[in-house]
């Protein structure tokens, strides 16, 4: 007579009884970790600009987004449609994306990941800082009466050319960096 694992008298029965039950597919028995930030909640809070950044604990950034949004609306309403009318949707959408990415970065930091490397790769370019300086100088010159910024409005398609060229340049650089194997 042979012993069976289903036989309570069998020597294999205690080991089979103490083994954990198999998990359904797609689940693991890794410990549950509650992440500190919810990217979805951060994005939802950012529907009011700056609130998602407050949730992420980045107060200075929250003020920057809030005042950029309010300032763009104020300046558009006071007759400076260019470039501030374009900035309103840009600031609003960028604020939501920034809150989402900020929450993901906070979670990555919590898990000990490389949050810094993944936080804002697009900021690794002088274009962002240069654009801020250029915008500030143009508005300042306009405020001082040394430049009529409304006359620049006819040149706005040049902005599209510059942004398009920047994307093309970035794509070529990324392809070059990956040895030409990237999609």
């Amino acid at each position: 007579m042979t012993s069976s694992p289903f036989d309570p008298q069998s020597p294999a029965a205690p080991a089979a009884a103490s083994a954990p039950p198999p998990l359904p597919p797609g689940q693991s028995n890794a410990p549950f970790v509650r992440l500190p930030k919810s990217p979805g909640l951060a994005a939802c809070l950012s529907l009011f600009p700056g609130l998602g950044q407050v949730y992420n604990g980045r107060i200075a950034r929250a003020f920057v987004f809030f005042f950029s949004w309010v300032g763009s609306i104020y300046l558009t309403a006071s007759g400076h449609e260019f470039p501030f009318a374009f900035m309103i949707p840009f600031v609003y959408l960028f604020n939501i994306i920034d809150a989402w990415k900020g929450a993901n970065a906070a979670n990555a930091r919590f898990l000990g990941g490389r949050a810094e490397a993944e936080e804002q790769p697009e900021v690794e370019s002088p274009v962002w800082g240069g654009s801020l300086v250029l915008l500030g100088v143009l508005i300042l010159l306009s405020n001082l009466g040394w430049l009529d910024i409304d006359r620049l409005a006819r040149w706005w398609p040049v902005l599209l050319i510059a942004v398009g060229g920047y994307f093309v340049y970035n794509s070529l650089e990324a392809r070059k960096a990956s040895g030409g194997s990237a999609e």
């Binding site: 950034r61 300086v133 500030g136």
Partner: protein, 67 residues
């Protein structure tokens, strides 16, 4: 990429608050008109922010050995 030496938007926000406090105090003392000054010179905050972003990028690139 190396970690930032400082937060550009944090420094900009702090400097703007200090400047606002100083200008507000001077305005309360009757030394200057606050609102016309702010209306004219607020873009300096954008310039400062941009310069600090560029400085931060330069520091990170130099510390990570990139040119």
């Amino acid at each position: 990429m190396t970690r930032s030496a400082f937060s550009p938007e944090g420094v900009t926000f702090g400097v703007c608050l200090v400047a606002l406090g100083v200008l507000g105090t001077l305005a309360n003392l009757g030394k200057l008109e606050l609102l016309p000054l702010l209306r004219t010179y607020w873009p300096l905050s954008l310039v400062l922010w941009g310069v600090l972003e560029l400085a931060d990028l330069t520091i990170r690139r130099s510390s990570s050995g990139r040119s």
